[in-house]
């Protein structure tokens, strides 16, 4: 991870550059509210394939998929000719996959929407984080270098894709037991004093 002291976002904020694979030390430095830009190979999958990926992990057969989850970023999105964009991460199959995928080495889960207190605790347990990004497909299209299906091709746009990106923008929403989301949500997210970040 590289902190780009000279690089500023639109709002004049510093941007943390994360290059995959990401190690534990890099994750420990991240704080809720950090702007990030992701570079390198990321995996893209959502409702249809994430539970399948978890099943492979649980059977200790992940190597059969030629997928390396150590230090990985998983973007909760379909991949189609229309582009990519985050789907809601608190859908059952997606949020339910986060603990096992974190245990399997995934460091950044990227999507949108609040997550439950239980998922926050699981992320903390495995030193993984949840980042969110707006559904800015046109902007993402400009950041994609290559894309290819790596598993579950029969799922079409919901297959597991490997996508090489440069400068994919996001913001850290949940890290180390803290959340960017306010209180009052149905998902029971923990309120965080916004003055702390």
């Amino acid at each position: 991870m590289k902190r780009l002291s000279g690089k500023k976002g639109w709002a004049g904020e510093k941007i943390v550059k994360l290059v995959t694979p990401i190690d534990d030390a890099e994750i420990r430095k991240l704080k809720v509210g950090d702007r990030i830009e992701i570079e390198g190979v990321i995996y893209c999958g959502r409702d249809a394939v994430l539970p399948k990926l978890v099943a492979y992990l649980q059977r200790n057969e992940i190597q059969k998929l030629n997928v390396n989850l150590k230090g990985a970023v998983i973007f909760h999105t379909a991949v189609s000719i229309a582009g990519i964009g985050p789907t809601t991460s608190n859908k059952v199959e997606i949020e339910g996959s986060i603990p096992a995928l974190s245990a399997g080495g995934v460091k950044v889960h990227l999507g949108k929407g609040a997550l439950s207190q239980k998922t926050m605790e699981e992320l903390q347990r495995y030193n993984s984080v949840f980042a969110i990004t707006p559904p800015v497909t046109a902007l993402f299209t400009d950041k994609i270098i290559t894309k290819r299906v790596v598993a579950f091709k029969q799922e079409g746009m919901e297959a597991l894709y490997e996508v090489r990106v440069k400068g994919l923008p996001a913001i850290i929403a949940i890290a180390h037991g803290k959340s960017i989301f306010g209180s009052g949500g149905e998902k029971g997210t923990k309120h965080v004093d916004k003055k702390t970040y």
Binding site: G9, W10, A11, E13, G33, R35, T77, A78, S80, I81, A82, G83, I84, G85, P86, T87, T88, S89, N90, G111, K112, G113, A114, I132, T133, P134, P135, V136, T137, A138, L139, F140, T141, D142, Q154, E155, G156, M157, E158, P169, I171, A173, I180, F181, G182, G184, G185, E186, K187, K194
Partner: protein, 287 residues
């Protein structure tokens, strides 16, 4: 008389424009929101949405990868001459537009049960995403107006059509509708939303009126009632992308139809996402 080709081309261009461009009122609303927003995270999300719209327009990319389900609203002038098969031409034009934009190939294959269970996979052709049943309305004059709206999946999860015991009070009806939307904001993800509301006599009619509200509403021309709903949703402080701040809703569009003698109103409410309503219209007149 209009030709089938002109009708096809109009529907095609509507789909592409709706999926790739912001309207003037959306640009104005977002620019104003960024100036006012004090929460730095919320401002970041708003700036990304505006940057996205700029790239989408310049390069012709879809605004969102969920390019939505096409909904077509047709206003037919009493004096307009239409060719045989004109409704089919609209379907053909929509399919062409989806292929060119390109839309997301998300139509589900199979028979009724297989479609529900999504057990036979998806079509690769974005043109297979069929439009919802069309709404056709008679109007005066010699014009044919075709409007296409693209409705994304996230807001559909959060929308609701239900009854409200109105107690002869607009305040009661809208407060309840706003409370439905407010309760969903934390989970929508794609905020700021635009609240679309239809008030009618039946569930079908209320939904159609909600769609008409989406077709006609303007973020720079808000009624007092629309402002009240927006204020109630903004009081949630969910903010853009759930990041907090004062802007959870950019505005509200309300359409009220004919009503019946009853203590009940049927209300359809949809929290449209940060790019919606994605819509475009073309007016045709015989040459």
């Amino acid at each position: 008389m209009l030709t089938r080709k002109r009708i096809e081309d109009a529907a095609k261009s509507c789909v592409i424009a709706a999926g790739t461009t912001f309207r003037k009122d959306q640009n104005i609303a977002y620019r104003g929101a960024i100036e006012k927003e004090k929460n730095r995270n919320a401002r970041w999300a708003l700036e990304k949405i505006v940057e996205n719209a700029k790239i989408a327009e310049e390069k012709g990319y879809p605004l969102c990868d969920d390019t939505g389900i096409p909904h077509v609203f047709v206003e037919v002038g009493d004096e307009v001459g239409l060719p045989k098969g004109w409704l089919t031409s609209i379907h053909t034009g929509v399919a062409q537009g989806l292929r060119l934009m390109p839309g997301r190939p998300m139509a589900v294959r199979g028979d009724a049960i297989e479609r529900v269970e999504q057990s036979r996979g998806l079509f690769n052709d974005p043109g297979k995403v069929l439009p919802a049943p069309m709404i056709v309305k008679p109007v005066k004059g010699d014009k044919l107006k075709i409007s296409v709206l693209l409705l994304g999946g996230g807001p559909e999860i959060r929308a609701r059509t239900y009854r409200v015991f109105h107690r002869r009070s607009m305040e009661t009806v809208l407060s309840e509708a706003a409370s439905w939307v407010a309760s969903e904001m934390n989970n929508l993800g794609c905020t700021p939303c635009v609240v679309a509301i239809g008030i009618g006599r039946t569930h079908m009619e209320a939904s159609a009126l909600m769609l008409e509200a989406m077709k006609e509403g303007n973020l720079t021309r808000q009624s007092e009632w629309e402002k009240k709903v927006t204020a109630l949703v903004n009081a949630t402080k969910v903010g853009p992308l759930g990041l907090g701040g004062g802007l959870t809703s950019l505005g509200t569009f309300i359409k009220i139809g004919p009503l019946r003698a009853s203590g009940v109103r049927i209300v359809s409410v949809r929290p449209c996402c940060c790019f919606e309503p994605r819509r475009a219209a073309v007016v045709l007149r015989a040459e």
